[in-house]
């Protein structure tokens, strides 16, 4: 065996890779740990200084040769360094992998340097960060050229060139501008790549002369400065010609190549193109390339502890040891609730046999699914959720049955029975809206309740689950919209060629004057209907998920009378026009239902043909109101700019206001401040490693105590309403302090250095009306759903109930 031949090659020295390598070292297996960066644990070492690293999920035991517990970044890194040395892990830093070929027993790994290694088995633990893009010009690796910025405070009184005008580059430039001369290089003509908040801040710094920028500029090379000058010379091609900037430092923030491409080039397949998709893996973390294993964040396990456990387990599996996964204890506890099941294996088998929806899942996927789910045994008559609740869990009936009582818009009631083997709750999951019915447990009812996140992950990664779920969901949606009295045969007839269509914001579902192609049932998002009036598009109405559009043309057998566009990312179900007409002919109740809806809509349209309503709706939709469930709007004709809303919010939330009253757009006395919209499909929930962001029954999206402070939600929020702050405490001011006008800020005390994400929680647990609304002296601030605001501004149902409206 030569030096470059190993039993196991582990790629990526993050928590998963280190844990695997340490286990291999402990078992005395020949191994190599390849890391593209210059040291192990690269991602964590780039966390901000002194950051408190969390060990979520706290219930999961750690099983690894390496140790890990929540603590300061520095301590953890030091422990790992020490342990890597102690176990004599064969770490090769600075070794980026370019290609992998071969099969089990004979893999050939080619490094970026051209060197090759061979290994019998390969463990991919490369995480999601990807390989950082370099400048790719002469001198791009000189000392003083860096691709990351850990602590902006480190540099003072330097001349720094920042390359890259994405969020990372702009944020670095802003942070450095405080104490340095900063030149920001943008290769485009405009700063269109960064968030609007960053853009505005950048522009104000540029106007103040604190940051210089170069646009349409490309880096030519970086060289050493002359002896009596600054250490580096940055040379770039600007529209005005070649420019040389002597500087101390070049920081390039050019993003990273997503790891998926690299992984696919190794022959691993992903089930679909979704950005969140993870490769399909066996129970032993083996991919569809035999001998190639995938663990850690890339396999869908983003937390440090999970990754370390998998690193350990994968080495055991490669050795042929059937170790119990670390989560066995947890699963056992959950599954033992099912009567007649005594082992996890039996439980998983039972679930697979009873629930056809999950039959196609691998055991690993089912285990993961069950880990995020809860088995619940219910008493007869127990209410699982009520109509109007916000809860996005998904339920599968394992035993017994569940009754769903739905109520239509006009008050007609319907009841469905969900027998064992079926599921429910998919409508709330898909639409992100309130429950349309009440679910009540029947006799001997056992349910599996699955969180929104794991259900969505399943839908994204397993197409067969998505297909079977859609089949049932489509049928239920049709039944829900057109009435449950329709005979089964007609229902089948309608559903048979129903098409599921996706629309981005602004996409047209159908246009005024078109031939009617069918009835559109909106199952996610929302749409607006508009008509052309004197050459201008005038908005007539707003239709949220759960309702339908397009019935006018079918009922009257004419062309489309309005144009319908998606107001937020929308999914609609298209029922063929011919089939709908045929069913209408046969069923009086469906006919009556569509007819009355048609007349109702006609009435509102005629009433709304005013431009003012249209302009206001357009404005509100342009600022994210369409996807909101509860948005703060301020009537600027009443707002006395006292900022009492912000003060009250800060008082109630540790001294930090979660809303910015003055920021945000204004149109015709309607002001949309920077405050959480509690979106139907919250962007902040998209990528939360500890799954700390939830929606409560009442609808508020809140961040739980297990936030690890990673900042993903802050970056994902398009409305900039999430802040990263140190945990703090605030004392209530005494009357004496109020009279004396004591400084509010002085009463805030930071209790720890850990930064966590905070956002509006609609004053959950404080009062039924959010304090921003409650403490508005003139009643200018209001929180409500977009429907309420739209009906308000159209003068429908203008009532004056206390502050918060459903």
């Amino acid at each position: 065996m030569t030096a470059s031949q190993f039993k196991i090659a582990i790629i990526g020295a993050g928590p998963a890779g280190m844990s695997a390598a340490a286990r291999a070292a402990e078992l005395d297996i020949s191994h190599v740990l390849l890391e593209s960066a210059s040291h192990a644990a690269n991602t964590i070492s780039h966390f901000q200084k002194g950051k408190h690293v969390m060990a979520e999920p706290s219930i999961l035991p750690l099983r690894s040769t390496m140790s890990f517990a929540a603590g300061q970044r520095e301590d953890i890194l030091q422990t790992w360094q020490h342990e890597l040395a102690k176990h004599r892990v064969n770490l090769r830093a600075g070794a980026a992998v370019a290609a992998i070929s071969g099969q089990r027993g004979d893999f050939l790994i080619t490094l970026a340097t051209g060197e090759t290694l061979s290994a019998e088995e390969v463990v991919l633990a490369i995480g999601l960060q990807g390989n950082i893009r370099k400048l790719n010009v002469p001198g791009d690796d000189m000392p003083g050229v860096q691709y990351q910025l850990d602590d902006p405070e480190e540099f003072k009184k330097e001349t720094i060139v920042v390359v890259g005008a994405g969020d990372a580059g702009v944020e670095n430039a802003l942070a450095l501008a405080e104490h340095n001369r900063v030149i920001l290089i943008n290769r485009d003509e405009e700063f269109a790549q960064c968030k609007s908040a960053n853009f505005n801040q950048l522009m104000s710094e540029v106007t103040r002369g604190r940051i210089e920028t170069r646009i349409s500029t490309r880096t030519e090379h970086i060289g050493a400065g002359r002896v009596d000058e600054l250490p580096l010379v940055y040379v770039a091609q600007t529209p005005l010609g070649l420019e040389c900037i002597p500087c101390h430092r070049v920081i390039a923030r050019l993003g990273a190549k997503p790891p998926r491409q690299l992984v696919e080039s190794f022959g691993v397949h992903f089930p679909n193109d979704d950005s969140t998709a993870v490769p399909q893996l066996s129970e032993q973390y083996e991919s569809d390339v035999p001998g190639l294993y995938v663990v850690g964040a890339l396999a869908g396990y983003p937390l440090i502890k999970q990754a370390m456990n998998q690193g350990y387990e994968v080495v055991e599996y490669i050795q042929g040891n059937a170790v119990e996964p670390a989560d066995e204890v947890l699963l056992k506890e959950k599954i033992s609730i099912i009567s007649g099941v005594d082992s996890v294996v039996a439980g998983i088998a039972r679930i697979r046999s009873v629930l056809p929806l999950f039959a196609s899942l691998t055991t690993l996927q089912l285990r993961e699914f069950m880990l995020d789910s809860e088995v619940r045994v219910l008493d007869k008559g127990e209410v699982i959720f009520s109509r109007g609740d916000y809860c996005t869990s998904f339920y599968s009936v394992l035993e017994g049955e569940v009754a769903i009582q739905a109520e239509g818009k006009s008050g007609e009631r319907a009841a469905y029975q969900i027998p064992a083997g079926n599921f429910f709750g998919e409508m709330g999951l898909l639409s992100g809206r309130r429950r349309s019915g009440t679910a009540i447990a029947g006799e001997n009812c056992v349910l599996i309740e699955t969180s929104r996140r794991s259900m969505l992950r399943l839908l994204h990664s397993v197409p067969s689950v998505r297909r079977s779920l859609d089949e049932v969901a489509i049928k239920r949606r049709v039944q829900n919209s057109l009435g449950s009295t329709m005979p089964e045969s007609d229902l089948e007839y309608l559903v048979q060629n129903a098409k599921l269509k996706q629309y981005a914001v602004g996409d047209v579902l159908f246009s005024e004057g078109d031939q009617a192609d069918g009835l559109y049932l909106i199952r996610r998002g929302s749409v607006t209907a508009s008509r052309m009036l004197e050459g201008r598009e005038v908005v007539l109405g707003y239709v949220p998920a759960g309702q339908y559009v397009g019935e006018m043309a079918i009922v009257t057998n004419s062309t489309r009378t309005a144009t319908v566009r998606a107001a937020s990312p929308t999914e609609a179900l298209l029922l063929d026009a011919g089939r709908v007409s045929a069913v209408i002919q046969r069923n009086a109740s469906v006919r009556a239902r569509l007819g009355s809806r048609y007349l109702e809509r006609m009435g509102t349209y005629e009433l709304l043909l005013g431009e003012k309503f249209s302009d206001q709706v357009k404005f509100l939709l342009a600022h994210g109101v369409g996807e909101a469930t509860d948005i703060l709007l301020i009537d600027y004709a009443k707002c006395i700019r006292c900022d009492n809303c912000e003060k009250a919010c800060a008082d109630a939330h540790g001294g930090i206001s979660r809303l910015d009253r003055e920021a945000g757009p204004t149109f015709e006395q309607i002001h949309v401040p920077n405050a959480c919209r509690h979106c139907e499909h919250p962007h902040c929930m998209k990528d939360c490693p500890p799954d700390a962001i939830h929606r409560s029954v009442n609808g508020e999206v809140f961040i739980g105590d297990n936030c690890i402070g990673c900042g993903n939600c802050q970056r994902n929020c398009p409305y900039d309403v999430i802040q990263m702050v140190a945990r703090g405490e605030r004392k209530q001011r005494s009357i004496w302090q109020i009279v004396m006008g004591t400084n509010r800020e002085a009463t805030v005390k930071e209790t720890s250095a850990t930064k966590i994400a905070v956002k509006c929680d609609l004053c959950q647990g404080i009062g039924s009306v959010p304090l921003c609304v409650n403490s508005c002296p003139t009643g200018a601030a209001r929180r409500a759903s977009p429907e309420v605001f739209f009906s308000r501004i159209s003068n429908h149902g203008a009532d004056e109930s206390a502050g918060r409206d459903e």
Binding site: T666, G765, V773, I793
Partner: protein, 299 residues
């Protein structure tokens, strides 16, 4: 945007506090007219005491608004599980601040009648009449405050357009810089004008300047008019394009400066009365205490 919320400060909850006001005032007037008194109306009669005590309580309640406004409900430790927890979110606040303010306005107004009747129209140079006068000052400033609260906000919005005050300031700085650069290529006379416009244009300043909302001989405005006059002199020989651009920059700046001043003026007008209202209210409390003590011990 009327329908956004149909009633404002005064119409809160279908004019709930207007009704209370009407009730209080009419009861007081009726009692005053109907109830028999032996030696004429004054504070010492049975009715006088009732009205006096009622008025004093109202004054205290009105003062308490100042405290309520600055205090938010105490927050209990929040541990919210993912499970249903409906009870914890159903605590209704006793009143919204809007309700407080609406009642503040109407109760304050009712004092004019209640306190006047309480005095039985006996005025003199003493601490009692001092309290009465102070009260009237507070109420009058409050009326002005109500007026500006109802009318000024929409003027501010309309004036500001889509820009926040910070945006305005930034844009003005930017235009100043551009004007400076343009003027560099032009004669000294013009540079001097631009320099004046850049360094001596004031927005805001002392309270009086804020309230006036204009600057006498504003350098920016005079720069625009002087440039227009100087135009024919330079436009031929000097760089005509630069002159034109400079003129347009200054014109734009003038517009923004006027808007910024307007904004400052409106905001100042909306807030200035509080500097009279609040101290006078405290003075009233002191005078009222003296009035009550005087009656209890020396009458």
């Amino acid at each position: 945007m009327k329908a956004f919320q149909p009633y404002g400060l005064l119409g809160y909850k279908q004019f709930r506090y207007l009704k209370l006001f009407a009730l209080l005032v009419s009861l007081a007037i009726m009692s005053y007219l109907v109830l028999p008194v032996e030696s004429g109306h004054y504070g010492g009669t049975w009715l006088g005491y009732v009205l006096g005590i009622l008025s004093a309580l109202i004054v205290l309640l009105l003062l308490w608004y100042g405290v309520t406004k600055r205090r938010t409900p105490r927050v209990r430790t929040r541990r919210m599980s993912r499970k249903k927890d409906r009870q914890s979110t159903s605590i209704k606040p006793i009143a919204t601040l809007q309700g407080w303010l609406s009642s503040h306005v109407y109760l304050g107004a009712s004092l004019i009648v209640l306190a006047t009747l309480h005095s039985g129209f006996h005025f003199g140079l003493n601490v009692h009449t001092l309290s009465y006068v102070l009260m009237l000052i507070v109420i009058a400033s409050g009326f002005y405050g109500t007026y500006v609260y109802l009318h000024v906000p929409q003027l501010i919005t309309r004036n500001a357009g889509e820009e926040s005050p910070d945006d305005l300031r930034l844009k003005i700085i930017e235009l100043d810089e551009r004007a400076r650069l343009h003027a560099l290529g032009l004669p000294d006379e013009i540079n001097e004008i631009v320099y004046q416009a850049r360094t001596s244009t004031h927005m805001g300043g002392s309270l009086w300047q804020q309230l006036r909302g204009y600057q006498r001989d504003c350098p920016t405005q005079s720069a625009v008019s002087r440039l227009l006059k100087l135009g024919p002199k330079y436009i031929m020989n000097e760089q005509p394009k630069l002159m034109r651009e400079l003129y347009s920059v200054l014109l734009r700046k003038e517009k923004l400066v006027l808007r910024a001043r307007q904004e400052i003026m409106l905001r100042a007008r909306m807030q200035v009365w509080l500097y009279l209202h609040a101290p006078m209210a405290v003075a009233l409390l002191a005078a009222l205490t003296a009035h009550v003590v005087a009656i209890l011990f020396f009458w």
